[in-house]
Symmetry: C2
């Protein structure tokens, strides 16, 4: 019975340093991630009790402390049998026992106090009676026999229990974020994040990078919508909150800083988007006299050095794909390379038949290729409903029919209607398919077919995982560089004009530099994206350091008003060194590391999906008097 | 001649690691400060050339490199005799020599290139000819015989020379900040700042502090004017940019984070104030289960551990004065304790005479004390004009007459008119004054007399320094704690009401806790200020963790609308641990460390005195279309 109690108690929060983690039913990823740590820069137990009242943390006492008098502070986590109390802090839990002679005296209050109240106890560490050791609890060999108790703060009855926090709906957790922060998951995520960032800083400083804070009250970036505006006290004049320190990092290079980094706060006013935040953090890096390859080497080294030591070390160098390769093989510019199921070009094998068949009747564009993916054990694991789902998705998003070839013989008849047995054999061979696999085929325009099958590939892996096939186990981290992006893309609002694929400061690929002046739409860039497990976690580029080229790109190619960037053009004219850099999305990276479903789970005080702070109710009304100094009036939209 | 050239060249920028600094006429403090460094976390020379093209930096080559082939990148700093060129980067300078056979070939371009252009050279290190070594230049034993030159970027003619930057007016420097950043002073300040912060982080992490990023898009703080507002896309609703993460740091403690720190970006919309910035950074710290003394110990340890190693180590513990003591001894709550000249109460010695004399005729309030400061060698060094200046200041700011007692006998007659020789003797003894000193006397109400003499004390020390008496030499750093502030002060707009002396979350002094309910105006607080050389560099407090007390303070004492803070009150009711913290003003601290006159000199891209970014011209106009998503109109003030 006691053992059961203690095991339940273990579900509470716990610092990084407790590496054995008890069963947790809610979220498998969390469970695994809680074993991560960055030991090298962690404080020891001893240091955790410097500069405060306690003699030890609640996670620290062991057999060797038996007989010592201790002072512990923490939260009332659990109570049973009118004598046992579990005290909890960020570091773990300790069992307290109220001596019989105190049960009706000073111990009485403790035994009737609301859970989550804060207390300070003195007592003596003693070994638990034989047979009552709890081997699942790091402090499970001992308990503290209380000699005095001080109630530091009483708690009201809380809207949810701390160890149940992950089961509560997210709005309630956000409203009471200060309670959710006590959960093991958030404690772990925030501590891992702090440790990761500290390791990164240590490495970057060791390489001569200078941590420079750049302003967030800045000027509007031309072409950059989505910037929050901040009215100044000068009538009609506004600051903007920049989306990144891009201009500043380049100006620092012009200023000869040589190597810059910053954990930079960035802002983006996009309204509601899934898993975006109006303010977010990036690891911002820029250096002079460098090359694309050198920046990528730097980032690989940075990640390897700061990688949590309880995970398998990262393999170097990271894989690299060109944008075209990524699209052809995975149907996306951010491929998840943890699993195969690559796209295969089967135009030669089945194109003659398929491109002429009825299956392409509803495609608007001239079909030019056939692509396939092979779903391992798809014929065995997918039911008809699953295939219908996949076909439905293709229809919904791409208005496209796909063909399913089941290799368990169940669709033998339909396939044989239009594929000769020779073609069938060639298809299987090209796809590396075996019995019980399934092949998805799509015929049409190359770019669209790639995107379609890229999407179905991700859908298939989810379906397979729901059937118990683990293709993307937690703890498998696959980094990938994607390079050679196009420099410009047709503008969505007017495809006869061009816009930057990334931003206007990106340098062209050296082999395509001449195209900027003749066929800019064909030029590739020196942009590079870093992808982790199918998520973009970073992006950077070699920058344009020549003012003539930069002016040409802004004025002639993009048709921007260069007045807004005259300071940057002047800077490039004043001895700007060649430079390049990158920004890593810190929130996303940490979320992937701890296996969180949303970046909200790795941010201390995130905004909700709709961009609200549910705890304080921000944004909120302001009075006309409060707006007066800024010379603005409200104008409500007509309803 | 060559030696002279090289010495001139040395005036350029240089990294932290160059500890010998050449003569610099512009600013004495800078010169001294350039010897500071935080060696332990610095990159080695070798690491500075990882991940880039160069084989060495421009500050690195020594005798032992002779014979090596090197690749250097940098800025063209100086040229002479048509063959010698000084190449500069952040790390130092190297002399290049163009071989005679290249002078008319590839070297020709180099020899005619605009200064500050960026080049990349290959060549061989050789020892300078005998007699041409430059011992003031770290690379002065060698030069590089160029074999090839690549011009990486041409510079236009610049608006000012880099090594003259400190002489240029500040507006021009701010407009071309990217050029000013190349100056030795700014390079040094930004690198020292980065190193200092890194050392602080290292120490705090070693003590279990978690680096948590808190939001800057938040709700308006009640009572807190001066917050920038940020319109949201919801009509009429606004975020505010908070002046500090005060609420978040306390909520993190309620959330059981235990120990938090952050280099926090803070915002303050005050319009033009001398040496303030609309955004600034503070080292923000909070911990649970602690005490005032423990926080002060922590901060002392933090500063000692991160103190630049080239300065004399700090003495611990720092001195402490109560608010009353500081006022009585120094006439200010942020005393500069680098020098004496303390205020002396001479009411007993000369009060009988003075408080009755004609000298107090124009004071509105009942005089109750006589205070004095003794100016060392004042009678010798100050001329009549100086004394007039001091008297004028007293009249201007306090409408108060002061009496000067010159101890060189020159005012013997006037003094003896109203002071007996016995009183004169007693005054000298009480002030510890000797021959040639001067004593300033002021009679009146205690608080006013203290403030007046506190101001004159600082004025005197400046005058004395102008006369060559060094009382506050650069390199002398005196920290001081000031404690036991009043908790509340009469409101300026209505003195019958109270406002918080610091902020409403400050806990009362334990001895005065009962006064909150009876005579709150008499209660002292548990606020503590950290003062360095007469500037406030930090402030913190033990916080109220009891919701009843917090509610009473907000509602009854301060008469605030508690609705705006309901989330904080609810948090205090949910098991809030006792907690305390502090915030250190990073910009001010670094400015004092490097001896800069303004915090603008330790910020990469500061706003001007009037709050403008002179480089990009922010804040700037926005179009009605750009404001439309925020449902705001401009309303221009009537002129």
């Amino acid at each position: 019975m006691l053992r059961k109690v203690l095991a339940t108690g273990l579900l509470a929060l716990r610092g990084l340093r407790l590496l054995r983690v008890p069963p947790l039913s809610v979220c498998k990823e969390w469970k695994r991630s809680c074993t991560l740590g960055v030991r090298s820069i962690e404080a020891g137990s001893k240091e955790l009790s410097n500069f405060c009242h306690r003699s030890h943390t609640c996670g620290e006492l062991r057999w060797e402390h038996v007989g010592q008098r201790v002072l512990l502070c923490g939260w009332l986590q659990y109570r049973r049998c009118d004598r046992f109390v579990i005290l909890r802090d960020f570091h773990g839990q300790t069992q307290l026992i109220v001596p019989k002679d105190l049960v009706n005296g000073p111990g009485h209050e403790l035994l009737h106090l609301q859970m989550e109240s804060v207390i300070c106890v003195r007592g003596e560490v003693r070994e638990r009676p034989s047979g009552q050791h709890n081997h699942n609890m790091p402090t499970g060999e001992v308990e503290v026999l209380i000699s005095s108790v001080e109630v530091l703060n009483r708690s009201r009855k809380l809207p949810f229990q701390i160890n149940e926090a992950v089961k509560v709906n997210e709005s309630l957790r956000l409203q009471f974020r200060y309670l959710d922060l006590r959960s093991r998951q958030l404690q772990h995520a925030l501590r891992l994040r702090s440790n990761l960032v500290m390791s990164m800083r240590t490495f970057l400083c060791s390489q001569g990078f200078v941590d420079v804070e750049t302003p967030t009250l800045f000027k509007k970036t031309p072409g950059g919508a989505k910037e929050f505006v901040v009215p100044s006290r000068e009538p009609g004049k506004f600051f903007s909150l920049p989306q990144s320190p891009q201009q500043f990092k380049q100006l620092l290079m012009v200023g000869g800083l040589d190597r810059y980094f910053q954990i930079a706060r960035c802002y983006r006013d996009e309204g509601s988007k899934p898993d975006r935040q109006p303010e977010f953090s990036q690891v911002d890096i820029e250096l002079s006299f460098t090359s694309q390859q050198a920046v990528r080497d730097l980032v690989e080294e940075l990640l390897c050095r700061s990688w949590p030591c309880d995970l398998p070390p990262l393999a170097q160098p990271f894989c690299t794909l060109t944008y075209d390769q990524a699209l052809n093989l995975y149907g996306t510019d951010k491929p998840d390379t943890r699993f195969g199921m690559q796209l295969v070009d089967v135009t030669d094998e089945v194109g003659n038949t398929l491109l002429m068949s009825e299956h392409d009747s509803c495609r608007p564009r001239q079909p030019d290729c056939v692509r396939a993916i092979c779903v391992p054990r798809g014929a065995e694991l997918f039911c008809n409903e699953d295939f219908c789902t996949l076909k439905g998705l293709a229809k919904e998003y791409f208005n496209q029919d796909i063909i399913v070839v089941r290799l368990d013989g169940n669709d033998g008849e339909t396939t044989s209607e239009w594929l000769s047995s020779g073609e069938h054999q060639a298809l299987m061979e090209k796809c590396g398919a075996g019995p019980m696999d399934a092949i998805l085929l799509a015929a049409g325009e190359r770019f669209d077919m790639c995107l379609l099958l890229g999407k179905l590939r991700l859908e298939c892996v989810q379906l397979l995982e729901q059937k118990g096939l683990s293709l993307r186990p937690y703890g498998l981290f696959k980094f990938l560089w994607v390079v050679d992006f196009p420099l410009f893309l047709p503008r969505k609002d007017d495809p006869t004009l061009l816009e930057s694929a990334h931003h206007p400061f990106t340098a062209p690929h050296p082999d395509d530099a001449h195209l900027i002046y003749t066929q800019p739409q064909k030029a590739r860039s020196q942009h590079y994206d870093l992808v982790l497990n199918g998520s973009e976690v970073g992006g950077g580029s070699v920058r344009i350091h020549n003012s003539q080229l930069q002016r040409h790109v802004l004025e002639k190619v993009l048709q921007e008003d260069i007045q807004q960037l005259s300071h940057l053009l002047a800077a490039l004219d004043s001895g700007a060194p060649p430079h390049a850099g990158i920004a890593l999305g810190l929130d996303r990276l940490v979320a992937l590391l701890v296996g969180a479903h949303s970046i909200r789970d790795v941010i201390a005080f995130p905004k909700s999906f709709r961009g609200h702070d549910l705890m304080s109710n921000a944004p909120d009304w302001l009075s006309p008097e409060e707006l007066a100094p800024y010379h603005i009036n409200l104008c409500f939209p007509e309803t």
